[in-house]
Amino acid sequence: MNRWQFVKRLAPLLALMVLVLSACGRSDLSTLNPQGPVAQEQFGLMKLAISIMLIVIVVVFAISFYVIIRFRRRPGDKTIPKQVEGSHKLEIIWTVIPIIMLIILGVPTVQSVFNLAKDYTKDPDAVKVIVTSHQYWWEFEYPELGIKTAQELIIPTGKTISIEAKSADVLHSFWIPSLAGKIDTNPGANVNTMYFSAPKEGVYLGKCAELCGPSHGLMDFKVKSVDESSFDRWTAALQEPVALPSDPAVKEAFVSKCLTCHAVGDQGGPAFPNLTGIGSRQTVGGILVNTDDPKYSNEGSTEENLHRWIKDPQAVKPGNQMPKVDLTEQELDGIAKYLSDLTLDYQQ
Amino acid sequence: MSAHVEGQLPHEPEKATLEGRNKVLGFWLFLGGETVLFGTLFSAFLALRHQVLDGPPAHELFSLPLVAIATALLLTSSLTSVFATQALHRHDNKKLITWLIVTVLLGLGFLCLEIYEFYHYVKEGHGFTTSAFSSSFYTLVGFHGAHVALGIVWISLLIGQLAKKGLTVVTAPKAYVAGLYWHFIDVVWVFIFTVVYLMGKVV
């Protein structure tokens, strides 16, 4: 039984080693595979903490196993062991050594707390973004550029992105695991700030990390890091006028049933996700991934995903604010087609 | 236990039995918990007191003379409850009952003033749902008022018991902890007077 126990106790440690040595998860999602300096700094602290804690675990496990095996009671053993009151020397050792370990961890922790609290909101070189969370989507406003988008945060590679985060309804938390730790978005005037940057081009997964209602788990977003000239083209393209559907019936349905809440270009309402350039986004509704090579049930072409979403938004994201709009099959097809063609040409 | 004759009571009758000692200690601990309760209410009030929205702000709303009279009533009642406890220690049941009656009457006076005050504030547009300030104000002051009301009912029942059963090792701890309770709500009021009313007057 004890050998069994020994192997079993060791198994978690082995599993840990295997995980550390092998892949550390997806590079666009894992905190163990940081893609930017902020996540890198946090990962450094995590590594330091894990190392110190592994020492503790190894010591405790070693003593445990030794004691359990060495001091088992033999059957029928009636001897009374020596009754020890304690040992000041030992007690001082296991008080002082943990304190030293905590100092080793505490000093960089405090340094890092202040480092990550730097305020870039006044920095002229930083790209400012106001993040507003909604049940269950993300609004990204670039106040200096006068543009707004949703669900996909486009950032220029290498630049510091200064975030001001707030919520339009309940608490949410803004988290891009591979780029930076999270910050809560609070309602009211309680605005939080953070910053991060992505030195490499790529698409990173963002998540909501505070229970916000039934579709909390589906409140994903993307951060897309593009080179600076592409970013400039994107901001310009976003401000260009957008043509409405050419088919008059589709146009009529789109204007009367979609633009009441959503905006394309300079038309429509501002309260819900801006649809300008939705055809070039990575996802529909944050979770229906647009791909020409669908592997999973949440993947499909942009047009298929739009079709699926508009047809029954509640089936995709339960409890979200978008109602099932009364559209004919032709109108639905036309609008899905129109939106999937609503692309922004900014990447080379 | 039921038939103690006057004069046979021990020096501190509230602590003469284990039950009595338990009751007194338990009550002190209960007041410790009450302190945290009011501490939390005060914190909530302090966090929200500037959120007046459309309602009248504190410095326009509060009328200090009225509150000062209420304060005087409650402070005096605390003094009379001390007299009651002293009478208890002298084993003087009649005086004890008399002072408790005075205490209850002063408490009733305080409560009436508070009810009038609330009524007046609601007419001024400072209702329970007006703003975060008003909600936290009524909750804090109302919790205190409810404690006063409960104390009045409790001490009134106690007066009846003392009159009927006399001062015994069973009734003495009850009278003693009632005195503790009354002091406690008096102390809380001193803080309310300072934090809510005086600080509210400072613009």
């Binding site: 999602l29 304690g86 309940v170 229970l211 | 601990l29 966090a47 959120q51 009850k174």
Partner: protein, 627 residues
């Protein structure tokens, strides 16, 4: 004093409804807590079934949030707390050589308020909507705008009523331990479980009133349209987080400290050795309790409190590792040089140590605020707190139950089934929660209804679900053991483990209703062990045999709590659901009727003195000398 004071002795159900005997109340707590442990466990299994594969729709998103909320709330308030109270009630008076607790009537009241609060909370499942905003009930999600059903009303009112029971229970144990120790039982001779119960009770006393206020404020927001936490009315959602965690963090120490106490007693007994470093253990327990109040904002690192607050709370939190480390090493060195017997109780205790260390080290990792920005609200946190709560507290409770079962019920649990319970539960536990650390680090947030495919979460979630099922089997084995044992003869001796060190093992199993025929004289730490080592069979009595005074049973606690239940129910539906009578909402009328019942019972209790009754020496035959 009339000795033959006629007191009606009840039997059957009426006996359980009216009992004020701490041992019976302990059993009531155990039955109720055990029942809710099963309910919470069932909710956990449904959660794990929902998560076993990506994009699963076994339960709907709304139902999932109800399940996770009720799982957390049930396990913390309705399962863990009462099971601890069960052990405290059953054992603490025995360990200090007392005949009862300080306030037997209040003890019963505490149980019944807890019970009716718990029932009210769970009625929500049958009333259309269960609470859905998480056990933390963060505003504004917990407000009426975003949780319009009655679910969160059940949460605020049910917990409020249950919380009253816990609070008065805490005061009761404090007074009991301070005032009712046997002669010679100084504070520094008290068994560790009693010490832990003492500190836990102090934490309850100072933590629960904050919850009372928080719940009252949230209730005012929801039912009377107050504006505490609603930003549109000037309220502040962060205020709720502060109030909740000022209560909530001490609460986790309230839970874990008694488990520490159980482990200390069990390890010492089954190593046949005095607890190593007893005084530093006491000191560490007090320090943990004290620091427990200083660290609440480490649950709020991402709320945006600023770098100064985050640094201070980081450091304060890390400091807790020091007294906890002292405890771990003291346990290890209690076993060192001992003669360790691996009974089921001790298996749970020994299994606790490395498991709890794993939960503890992740706690220190979480204390580093910048790294916590990554861990916070991810599955890493889920893994952490299940390691300390299940791996700590639940293993501790299982250990304590196996250890004290003969003392509580007079029957020994079956050791073979016990070991089966341990191994299935223990392996299942590690399978369930170890992988969750990595799920969190790989980017899986907690409290999510489902997750997308292809993110690398699938395999570990499957492992976790299988582990949860194993834990379910472990629990079933325990129930099986209890059932089988219930049909065995009641033949446990005074000191069934033969190595008992403390006073509870000097009296019969189960003890007579007055516990000690003669109050024992305590001559040192490990009072019974000391006598045994000097060749004596039992304790030296501190008093002659005489008439023993007992409190009368009473039905009033039951009705007082029932009144509160009715009040809560009325308040819940004071929104016009049931119409109105004479212009007053029927809900309020029902609520007032409930309060009337409660207050009438209180007044009756105050006006009619309880003289109790006496057990004369000639009737004291079922104690102390059996078997």
């Amino acid at each position: 004093m009339a000795h033959g004071h006629a007191v009606k002795r009840h039997t059957g159900l009426m006996d359980w409804l009216t009992t004020v005997d701490h041992k019976k109340i302990g059993i009531l707590y155990l039955i109720a807590g055990g029942f809710f442990f099963l309910v919470g466990g069932l909710e956990a299994l449904l959660i794990r079934i929902q998560l076993w594969k990506p994009l699963n729709d076994f339960v709907g998103a709304d139902t999932y949030n109800e399940l996770l909320t009720m799982h957390g709330t049930t396990m913390i308030f309705l399962a863990a707390m009462p099971m601890l109270f069960a052990l405290m009630n059953a054992i603490v008076p025995l360990q200090i050589g007392a005949r009862d607790v300080a306030f037997p009537f209040v003890n019963a009241l505490g149980f019944w308020t807890f019970f009716f609060g718990a029932v009210l909370l769970n009625v929500s499942w049958f009333a259309g909507s269960a609470p859905e905003a998480g056990w933390t009930a963060y505003a504004p999600l917990a407000g009426t705008t975003y949780s319009p059903g009655h679910g969160m009303d059940y949460y605020v009112i049910g917990l409020q009523i249950a919380g009253i029971g816990t609070l008065i229970g805490g005061i009761n144990f404090l007074v009991t331990i301070i005032n009712m120790r046997a002669p010679g039982m100084t504070f520094m001779r008290m068994p560790m479980f009693t010490w832990a119960s003492f500190i836990t009770s102090a934490l309850i006393l100072f933590a629960f009133p904050a919850l009372t206020v928080g719940l009252a404020a949230l209730m005012f927001d929801r039912i009377f349209d107050a504006n505490f936490f609603d930003p549109s009315g000037g309220g502040n959602s962060v205020l709720w987080e502060h109030i909740f965690w000022i209560f909530g963090h001490p609460e986790v120490y309230i839970l874990i400290l008694p488990a520490f106490g159980v482990i200390s007693d069990v390890i010492s007994t089954f190593s046949r050795k005095r607890l190593f470093g007893y005084s530093s253990m006491v000191f560490a327990t007090i320090l943990i309790g004290f620091l427990g109040f200083m660290v609440w904002a480490h649950h709020m690192f991402t709320t945006g409190l600023g770098p100064i607050a985050n640094s201070l709370f980081s450091i304060a939190t890390m400091l807790i590792a020091v007294p906890t480390g002292i405890k771990i090493f003291n346990w290890l060195f209690t076993m060192w040089g001992g003669s360790i017997k691996f009974t089921t109780a001790n298996l749970f205790a020994v299994g606790f140590i490395p498991t709890f260390v794993m939960g503890g080290v992740t706690g220190v990792m979480l204390a580093a605020a910048p790294a916590d920005f990554q861990y916070h609200d991810s599955y890493f946190v889920v893994a952490h707190f299940h390691y300390v709560i299940v791996g700590g507290l639940i293993l501790g409770i299982f250990s304590g139950l196996h250890y004290w079962w003969p003392k509580m019920f007079g029957r020994m649990l079956n050791e073979t089934i016990g070991k089966l319970t341990f191994w299935t539960f223990f392996i299942g536990f590690h399978m369930t929660f170890f992988v969750q650390h990595f799920l969190g680090l790989l980017g899986m947030p907690r409290r999510i209804w489902t997750y997308l495919d292809g993110l690398g979460f699938n395999e570990m979630n499957l492992i976790s679900t299988i582990g949860a099922i194993l834990m379910g089997f472990g629990t079933i084995f325990f129930l099986l053991n209890v059932t089988i044992t219930a049909f065995k003869p009641k033949n446990a001796v005074n000191d069934p483990w033969e190595d008992g060190r403390t006073l509870e093992w000097t009296i019969s199993s189960p003890p007579p209703e007055y516990n000690f025929q003669q109050t024992p004289l305590v001559r040192g730490y490990d009072a019974f062990w000391k006598e045994k080592m000097e060749g004596k069979k039992g304790m030296t009595p501190a008093e002659p045999i005489g008439s023993i005074h007992m409190p009368s049973p009473s039905i009033l606690p039951f009705f007082m709590s029932l009144g509160l239940f009715i009040t809560g129910f009325g308040l819940l539906y004071s929104d016009g659901t049931w119409g109105s009578v004479g212009g007053i909402d029927t809900g309020y009328i029902i609520g007032a009727a409930g309060l009337l019942v409660t207050f009438t019972c209180m007044i009756l209790r105050s006006l009619y003195d309880d003289h109790g009754f006496h057990i004369e020496p000639e009737d004291q035959h079922d104690g102390g000398v059996k078997a």
